[in-house]
């Protein structure tokens, strides 16, 4: 295995994040607050668990019949006057989008939130082609100005404090130095964004749900920026992963009830906008993107990660995410769901992510579509080790451990030796190269093991 190419992994990024404990505390509390809001919202729905089960089953049905639903969607959307494109890869997606923009002869577009375009690195691609993309969600705009990737799929700038946002706006938008009042900063961003909205004739959005039955797409936002962008533009480009399909409009209610409650604890997003057909004179494009999804669909072990509705609840609940920050995952989608999605795109690059978990299982139980996230993390670990993307030292250690633990007399002997070492030669383990010892004392070794006690007190004693 080649370890040279390795970029900073989750553990070292998380360790850097933890150098500022106050910041970790703040990050943890901010996200835990969102998790608690989610709990309150969920408890207001007595049939919450039933809703989760229904949503899970509908998504199972979608994954098992994806081909047919996609064809149905394409047919319906086309008959509604929407132009449907198919992209097998991120590259194809970017090319299709660029081609549409190029034909319109514009050099700037407005974009509302789309994790898919993050996944495809569309902004960077378009920038190279001379197209300026203005992110119009408040949080996305902040990370765009900071030239950072989002750290959370729903709350992209959750890692930034309002004072830092104030400084950023001072630099880029000319707000007074030292201003950090959120209402003031939001107004400044709004005023700036409005200029871009007014002059952009192409608007790009993501898609939360695409209804096969009607050929419509649904976009959920809190800020109304998707609507503003689309209504002011002559051309609407909507980009979606092929798994965003739901069979019928009547199923939407289940997902809309689950989505916002799981994401932020709101009963529903402020705007749930349906786009079924272009208004007179407008062009609407939908780009259906595979980018590894049909490959994942083949895998029994990992396919149901495709059920994800991108609510971010698994991030808010994850005790590791809250204490390591979204950027520690070095992938567009952070947290537990990112850790099971990323390795299927590039197992080597993201080999560390499935190990960035204690397998506590909170993610799987908070997930509104019941993705078995922590079990998939476990299974990814097995796949990654089998493919050799693991530190050779760890492999050797594990082989030794396996040998010791499968031989009772060796185990007793090593155990006895270990306890003697810790007791009489504590410097062997109590030093800062032992990661346990950095912030924790070693267990105080007892004089004898249970096995020895049992031999003395029971086997021989009785």
């Amino acid at each position: 295995m080649d370890t040279k190419e390795k970029t900073a992994d989750h553990a070292s990024r998380a360790s850097a994040f933890n150098r500022d404990e106050q910041r970790v505390n703040w990050h943890d509390k901010t996200l835990w607050f969102v998790r608690e809001k989610r709990d309150k919202a969920a408890w207001q729905i007595p049939e919450w668990e039933h809703l989760r089960e229904l949503a899970s089953q509908i998504k199972d049905n979608v994954l098992s019949n994806l081909h047919n639903y996609l064809i149905q969607f394409e047919k319906q959307a086309s008959s509604n006057g929407i132009i449907v494109h198919w992209a097998a890869t991120a590259q194809e997606h970017n090319e299709i989008v660029y081609d549409i923009i190029r034909k319109k002869g514009v050099s700037q577009i407005v974009k509302s939130k789309s994790m898919l375009t993050e996944e495809c690195h569309l902004n960077e691609y378009l920038l190279e082609k001379g197209i300026d993309v203005v992110d119009t969600d408040f949080g996305e705009r902040i990370v765009q100005l900071a030239e950072e990737p989002p750290s959370h799929i729903v709350l992209p700038c959750i890692h930034k404090k309002k004072e830092e946002i104030g400084a950023l706006f001072h630099e880029h938008l000319g707000t007074p130095e030292g201003s950090s009042d959120p209402v003031f900063l939001a107004a400044a961003a709004r005023a700036d964004l409005r200029k871009h909205f007014m002059k952009s004739s192409v608007a790009l959005t993501g898609v939360n749900f695409a209804v096969a039955e009607t050929g419509e797409i649904v976009v959920c936002t809190n800020e109304g920026n998707a609507d503003l962008g689309v209504q002011l533009a002559d051309t609407h480009i909507a980009c979606m992963g092929i798994e965003k399909i739901i069979p019928q409009r009547k199923h939407l209610g289940i997902f809309l009830r689950l989505l916002a409650r799981s994401a932020t604890g709101q009963p529903i997003t402020t705007y749930s906008s349906h786009f079924r057909k272009p208004r007179a004179g407008q062009e609407t494009h939908v780009v259906l993107v595979d980018n590894g999804r049909s490959e994942r669909l083949k895998s029994i072990d990992f396919r149901n990660a495709l059920k994800c509705i991108r609510c971010g609840a698994c991030m808010n609940t994850c005790p590791v995410y809250r204490r390591s920050g979204g950027h520690s995952y070095h992938y567009a989608i952070a947290g537990p769901i990112g850790a099971i999605l990323a390795p299927s795109l590039d197992m080597k690059k993201y080999a560390d992510l499935p190990f960035a978990s204690t397998l506590c299982g909170s993610c799987s139980n908070v997930c509104p579509v019941k993705i078995d996230i922590h079990d998939q993390l476990y299974r990814w670990r097995q796949v990654i080790v089998k493919n050799g993307y693991v530190n050779p030292g760890k492999s050797l250690g594990m082989r030794t451990m396996s040998t010791v633990l499968s031989n009772p007399s060796t185990f007793r002997w090593i155990g006895r030796l270990g306890r003697l070492f810790i007791k009489h030669l504590p410097f062997l383990v109590n030093h800062k190269l032992n990661p346990w010892y950095k912030k924790r004392e070693m267990p105080a070794p007892p004089a004898q093991s249970f096995h020895q006690w049992y031999k003395t007190m029971r086997t021989n004693g009785k």
């Binding site: 989750h10 553990a11 998380a14 360790s15 933890n18 404990e21 943890d28 709990d39 408890w43 007595p46 919450w48 668990e49 609940t317 005790p319 590791v320 204490r323 190990f355 960035a356 204690t358 397998l359 506590c360 299982g361 909170s362 139980n365 670990r381 097995q382 089998k386 693991v390 760890k394 492999s395 594990m398 451990m401 396996s402 040998t403 633990l405 499968s406 031989n407 009772p408 185990f411 155990g415 306890r419 032992n434 990661p435 346990w436 950095k438 912030k439 924790r440 004392e441 267990p443 007892p446 004898q448 093991s449 249970f450 096995h451 020895q452 006690w453 049992y454 031999k455 029971r458 086997t459």
Partner: protein, 245 residues
Amino acid sequence: MRVALFVPCYIDQFYPKVAIATLELLEKLDIQVTYPERQTCCGQPMANAGFEHLTKATNKLFIENFDKYDYIVSPSGSCVLHVKHHLHSKASEDLAHSIKNNIYELTEFLIDVLKVKKLSSWFPHSVGLHQSCHGQRGLMLSQMSEIVGPPFSKSEALLNMVGGLNLIALDRSDECCGFGGTFCVTEDAVSAKMGLDRVRDHISHGVEFITSSDMSCLMHLEGILRRLKSDVKVAHIAEILNAPA
């Protein structure tokens, strides 16, 4: 009733008192317990690190030790969960299957099988309960905060039977302690921070003891408590349930 005691490897080596308390507690409840002496480990340390393929030998040994019992009881939700989910044997899958059905975590065995309604133990202290994730979310030993459903807790039900014990409520009832097996050293910064936050929750509510049905969580929390030079102690739930009146 043939009952075997499964003592996880780290309890055997570092916390024999927990295994002794488990054995004595079961004996007080008139259960005859056998301790199969060639047992070592369930294999979880390898499997959770991605090396499940190296657990064939420990699986074989586990089956040899435990295939003759009606019940296998262990003071660790985590190890029991591992056996339930991952014990396999090409040669004798039927034996593996019956072991998976017969293995119980201690509190689960006391509540569901023995149907314990009262205990004679006495523990006059303020106690905070740390939920082990594998016990809680894996074995469903108590309701979790993520789920909209009726509350229940096997550990709490038992602790409420202990004389003098004052069970203390926490800010976060079921957040992970950050031990996580090899996670505790491969991700030591986050692991230690998670443990520190758990410990502070207990300390701020004035507990004297942190208890849990998993000693691995407590080993981690104890390491942090001792580094903080805190007076708060850890005690496995078996030690409290076995505390003499």
